[in-house]
Symmetry: C2
C-alpha cells in the first residue's frame, strides 16, 4: 500500500484507495477544519497534494467552487480527494483544527454558603463476627448502620462488597461509609476525610470543560478543558447526527470519543489536584440535547426531524462504570434535565446559575452559538426557545471564518475616514482568519464606518483600496496577504455580512417572539452567556441589532454560566431539584411551528431593525 505523508507534521498513513484525505488525517490524529463534516460544502479542509506517484482525478465541481485559483497551486479539498498512490500532503496552517480559547471562568458567581452534597460520610464501628454469631460482613455492616444512624434499605453494589471484608478488618477504629442520597453505599474509607471530590462537566458542541471540586468546602481544585473530540465528524450537532445515521457504528464512535475525552480530562484534573480519579465520588454533566444523547449513546435521529423529539428529558443518574467513566467504581453520573430537542441541560444550567427564575426583574438570557438558546423570564414565568442561528457566531460559513484559536481576529477597529484597520488577534499571532466575536466586531465597525449600510449592502461609494469587487461580489480587506503571511488577503465578503444578518436575525426574531408571548414587559437585563457571549462587546452586539431594545448599559457577559450551573448541581442536591423545577416551569416555544417567527425573521434582517421594532411596539 502506498504511503501518504502529512507535512509539516511528518505523520504517515496508508492510501487504501477508499478513505478520503480528510479521513486519513483524522486517523493519524490530525483533525482538519471541517465545518460540514466532510460533505464538500464548507471548503475548510484545504490541503496541497505534492509529490504524488499517480495522476489525480480532475477537481470536482465543489472543489472548483471552493478553491478557485488555488487549484492551480495544487490545493484540493481533503474530503473530496481519495488517493490511490503515495503522496506528500501539505496541511496549510489555517486548515488545521487549533486549540480553541475556551471560556472556563464563571467567577462572577459565588457558591451558596450552605453546601449540600448528595454524598456524605458516615463513621461507624462494626462488631467483629464470633463463632457463636457468624453474621456475614454485609449484614453486620448494615445492622451497624441501622443501629447507629437509623439508615435502612441501603443498596451496595458488587464493587463495594469486594472492598468490604478488607476495610472491616483493616483497623481497630471502624470505617467510613460514603452514602449517596441516603440510599446507596457508594464507597468505603478507613477514616473521615477532609475532602470529598466531585467533578462537574459542561459538554459543549465545540469545547468540553471540567471543574474538579471539593464537595465539603466548595473549593475549585482544578479546571480543565479540551476541544470536543467529535469535531472531526462535524462542526455542528446536525452534521454529527447525520454522521451517526450514515456511518454504521457512527453513534458508538462519537460516544466513545466523548467518553475517552472526559476520562482524559478527569485524569488531568485529578493529576493537577494530586488525587487518584477513583477518589471522585460524583460527577455532573450538562450539555445540549444532542451532546447529552451522544454521550449516553441514545438515538439522535429524531432530534433532527420535526417534531424534534428527544429520547429522554428527565434528569438521569447513571453508574459511571456503565457509561465507561473512570471515577470511583460505584460512583454515579448525574445528568441534569433537558427541556427539548434544542434546549438542553446547558440552558437549564444557565438559568440555574444566573438565577433569573428567582428574580423579580425580567431578564433576557442569550446563549450565542450555532443554536442560540434564548430564555426570557422572571420568578413568575419562564419562556424559552432555540433558534437555528447557524454557525456564523462561531466563525462558520464565513469565508475566512475560524474558531477562536490563536491567530483568529477577535476585535477590529476601522478608522471612519481613512478606513485603516487595526486588528486584535488571539495570542497576538499573525492573523489567520476571523472568529465569531471577530466577525461581529468587523461588521459592527463597518456599520459605524458606513462601509455597510442599513440593509447590509456594501457602500459602493467609498473610495478605498480595501473595498473591492472579488470573485463573489464586494469584499472588504481586513488584512493584506503579506501581513497575514497567507496566500490571499483576509476579507469580509458581502456573503459574510449576509450570513451574519441571518444569524443575528434569528436571535432577534426569537427574542422578539418571546417578548410578545411574555406580554411585552420591558426587559431589565440582558445576559450574554457562552463562549461567544462573553467575548462579544456589548456595543458591537447593539450595533448589529442582535436583540430588541438594545442598550449597552443593561447587557452583561456572564461567561460559562452552563459550567457554573453544573458545579452548583454537583455541590447541592437542592440545586438538582431546582433544575428539575426550572425544566418543568419553563415554557418551550417551538419556533418551527410558529408563523409569527418567520415574519419576524424576515423583518429583523436589517441593521436598523431594533429601532424600527421599538417604533412599532
Amino acid at each position: 500500500m502506498a504511503k501518504i505523508i502529512f507535512m509539516p507534521q511528518g505523520k504517515e498513513a496508508d492510501a487504501d484507495g477508499h478513505m478520503s484525505i480528510l479521513q486519513l488525517a483524522q486517523k493519524v490524529g490530525l483533525p482538519l477544519q471541517s465545518t460540514c463534516g466532510g460533505k464538500k460544502k464548507c471548503g475548510k479542509c484545504k490541503v496541497v497534494v505534492e509529490e504524488t506517484d499517480a495522476s489525480l482525478p480532475p477537481p470536482s465541481d465543489q472543489e472548483r467552487e471552493h478553491l478557485g485559483e488555488l487549484l492551480e497551486k495544487g490545493y484540493r479539498l481533503a474530503c473530496d480527494t481519495v488517493l490511490t498512490a503515495g503522496a506528500q500532503i501539505q496541511i496549510p496552517v489555517e486548515s488545521l483544527v487549533r486549540r480553541q480559547v475556551i471560556l472556563t471562568s464563571h467567577t462572577k458567581y459565588a457558591y451558596p454558603a450552605r453546601l449540600q452534597p448528595n454524598v456524605e460520610q458516615y463513621y461507624l464501628e462494626v462488631p467483629a463476627p464470633t463463632i457463636d454469631d457468624v453474621k456475614a460482613d454485609r449484614e453486620r455492616f448494615l445492622s451497624a448502620l441501622h443501629e447507629t444512624f437509623g439508615l435502612r434499605h441501603l443498596h451496595m453494589d458488587t464493587a463495594v462488597l469486594r472492598e468490604l471484608p478488607r476495610l472491616l478488618r483493616s483497623g481497630e477504629q471502624g470505617l467510613v461509609a460514603l452514602i449517596r442520597d441516603g440510599r446507596e453505599i457508594i464507597g468505603l474509607q478507613g477514616e473521615l476525610e477532609q475532602r470529598l471530590y466531585g467533578i462537574a462537566f459542561d459538554m459543549g458542541t465545540t469545547t468540553v470543560v471540567g471543574y474538579l471540586m471539593d464537595l465539603l468546602s466548595g473549593d475549585d481544585l482544578s479546571v480543565v478543558s479540551a476541544m470536543n473530540p467529535q469535531i472531526p465528524y462535524g462542526d455542528d450537532v446536525i452534521s454529527r447526527i447525520s454522521f451517526c445515521q450514515q456511518e454504521p457504528g457512527g453513534l458508538e464512535k462519537l460516544r466513545s470519543h466523548m467518553v475517552h475525552c472526559l476520562n482524559g480530562l478527569i485524569l488531568e484534573a485529578s493529576t493537577q489536584a494530586g488525587i487518584n480519579p477513583n477518589q471522585i465520588v460524583e460527577m455532573t454533566v450538562v450539555g445540549n440535547t444532542a451532546m447529552h444523547h451522544l454521550f449516553l449513546g441514545l438515538e439522535t435521529r429524531y432530534l433532527a426531524i420535526a417534531p424534534y423529539t428527544p429520547v429522554v428529558t428527565g434528569a438521569q443518574d447513571k453508574k459511571a462504570l456503565a457509561l465507561g467513566i473512570e471515577i470511583g467504581p460505584s460512583a454515579y453520573v448525574h445528568l441534569l434535565p433537558l427541556k427539548a430537542g434544542f434546549v438542553g441541560s446547558d440552558a437549564i444550567a444557565c438559568i440555574l446559575a444566573t438565577g433569573i427564575h428567582r428574580k423579580k426583574a425580567t431578564t433576557l438570557l442569550i446563549d450565542l452559538g450555532t443554536n442560540g438558546e434564548i430564555v426570557l423570564g422572571n420568578k413568575e414565568r419562564l419562556v424559552c426557545c432555540s433558534t437555528a442561528a447557524g454557525p456564523a457566531f462561531e466563525g462558520g460559513h464565513i469565508r475566512w471564518g475560524m474558531r477562536a484559536a490563536a491567530g483568529a481576529i477577535e476585535r477590529v477597529k476601522i478608522d471612519p475616514t481613512t478606513f485603516d484597520v487595526i486588528l486584535k488577534t488571539i495570542d497576538d499571532e499573525r492573523p489567520l482568519g476571523i472568529c465569531g466575536s471577530g466577525i461581529i466586531s468587523a461588521v459592527a465597525e463597518m456599520i459605524r464606518a458606513e462601509i455597510v449600510l442599513e440593509k447590509g449592502h456594501f457602500n459602493e461609494n467609498i473610495q478605498s483600496s480595501r473595498l473591492r469587487r472579488g470573485k463573489q461580489g464586494w469584499e472588504f480587506v481586513l488584512a493584506w496577504a503579506p501581513e497575514a503571511g497567507a496566500e490571499q488577503d483576509i476579507v469580509v465578503t458581502q456573503k459574510d455580512v449576509a450570513e451574519l444578518q441571518m444569524a443575528k436575525s434569528a436571535i432577534y426574531a426569537g427574542a422578539t417572539l418571546l417578548m410578545e408571548i411574555f406580554g411585552g414587559k420591558p426587559i431589565q437585563r440582558v445576559l450574554l452567556a457562552g463562549a461567544g457571549g462573553n467575548y462579544v462587546d456589548p456595543l458591537d452586539a447593539c450595533t448589529i441589532d442582535l436583540f430588541p431594545g438594545c442598550t449597552i448599559a443593561k447587557v452583561i457577559g456572564v461567561g460559562n454560566a452552563a459550567g457554573h450551573g453544573s458545579c452548583l448541581a454537583l455541590l447541592g442536591k437542592t440545586k438538582r431539584r431546582e433544575a428539575e423545577r426550572i425544566a418543568q416551569k419553563a415554557q418551550y416555544i417551538e419556533l418551527a411551528a410558529t408563523e409569527r417567527f418567520k415574519e419576524l425573521f424576515v423583518s429583523s434582517m436589517f441593521f436598523t431593525a431594533a429601532r424600527d421594532y421599538e417604533d412599532n411596539f
Copy 2:
C-alpha cells in the same frame, strides 16, 4: 525458548523455566487431575517426561512418596516439575480431567401449577409526539404506562433507552414493555410473545448445570452442563480459596473462568432452543458459599478461617451486564440467599425443592460432597450444618479415586465365598479408577463379605489372592492390571477404607448432633441429594452406617435438588421470598464450635456405629 509437546494430544507450550508442567498443561487447555490444586499432596497429576534435552532435577520427597516405582518408568508429578529444556510429555489417561457424568435430572418434582415469573409483559400504545406537544420518548412512554396500568416510578437503564426510539416508531400497534418486579423496564418488544426465557444455574464445586426455561409455561427447554472450569486450580473449595490468596489476580482469574463457563452454557442452551441469548430476561444462580463469592469476585479468605464469615448472605439482584453475563442487556441475575460459610444457596435451594420446611414429617436431608451439608427439620423448625467430609465421596484422597467419568468403577459386587469381583463402570469402559459411589459400594460389599470388619480393619484370615499386603499395608484388588489396561492393579487400600470412615463419620456425627439438638424426634424420611447422593445405593449407605437410624425403606435419592430449587426461584417470585424465609428460619450449627461433635465424630468411625447408637439412644 524450548518447546514442550504434550502427547497424545500433540499440544505445544513453551518451557519458560518458571511454570510447572501442570501450569503449562492448563495454559494449553489440558486440565490435569489435581485434587490438591498443585500442592504436591494428591499425587494425581502423574505424567511421563520423555525425550527431554536436559537432565531433570532429582525427584522430590513428595514425588518419591506418590510415585514409588513409577519413578523408574519416567513418571513425575506435573505440579512439582519445572522444565528448562524442551521435552515430550506423555499424559496417562487417568491423569486427564475427564468429563464427569453430571446429574441434571430432577424429574421427581413437578413445577407449581401457578407460575409467577417476576418479569411480565405489558402491551400498550403510546401517542406519537406532535409539534405542539413535544414530550420526550421516555416521558411519553412512562405516562402511557401510568395511564394504562397505573404503574409509577419505573426505572429504565441506558440499554432500554437506546432501544426505545426505534420501537416506539416501529409499528402502528404499540409495543410491549418487559417489567421486572413492577419496578424496572428491562426490555422492549414489538408484540406480546408466547414465550419468555429464563435460565437457572446450579454452580457446583465440580459441575455447573443450567436449565433454560420458558417462564410463561414452566417448560424445560434445554439442559446443559459443564465441568467447573476452576477445577484445575483446586478440586475443593479450600484449595481454590488458597489459590486466590497465593496467586496475585487469582480471584479475578477464577471469577472470569466461571463467567466464561456460564456464558458458554447460556449460548449452548440458547442454540439448542433456537433463541438468541439476549432474549433471556432473567437468571437465577445457586451454589455453595465459596462458588457464590468466586462468581461475584468477593473475598473468600475469611470463609477458610474461623469464624468462617461470608461477605454477604442475603439474596442479591445484580445486573447481568455488570457481572459479565451475556443475556438480555438489561436483565438481572438473582442469587439466592446463603446461610453461612459452608451452608450455601445450594442447600437453601435443596430445602426449597424438597419442601421439607413445609411438611409435618421430620426429614433428614444430606447433600453428599466434599462439604456434606445436612439439614434436619419439618414445618416447625430447621437445623443445618456442614461437615468437612473430605473428598472421599467424590473419589478424592482414595488411592485409585477418580471423578465420576467414563471408566470409573461405580458399583462393585463381591462373591462372599469366592471373593470374585464383578464391576460396573461408567459407560462400561475399561476400569480406570473408582468414583465416589464406587468406593462406597466397594467398601459396603467388603463389609458384607466380611473382608472389612466392624472397626474398619481388613480381615487377615481371608484366603484370596485379591487380599494382599501392599507397600502401604493391606489392600484388596478390584481389577487386575490386564483387565484395567493399566500398569498396576486397581485396589482398595486400608487407608482408603480409613478415608471413607472419616468421611462417613463426619456425616454420621453431624446428623446425630442435629438430631440431638432437634430433641431426638424420629426421622421419617432421609433424602440423599447431589450427584453423589443420587448414585449411592441406599443399601450401601446403610451398610457403611452413613447416618443414624438407617433403614433402607426410608432413604430416597432426590437427584439435583439444588438445580430444581434454582428453577423454582426462576419461575416464581414467591419462591424467592420462600427461600429467604428458609434462610432466616434455618438454625445454623457451627460444628467447629461444638465439643459434642468431636466426641460423636470419634465414636462414629466404626461400621456398627448405627446399631451402637440406637442401643444407647
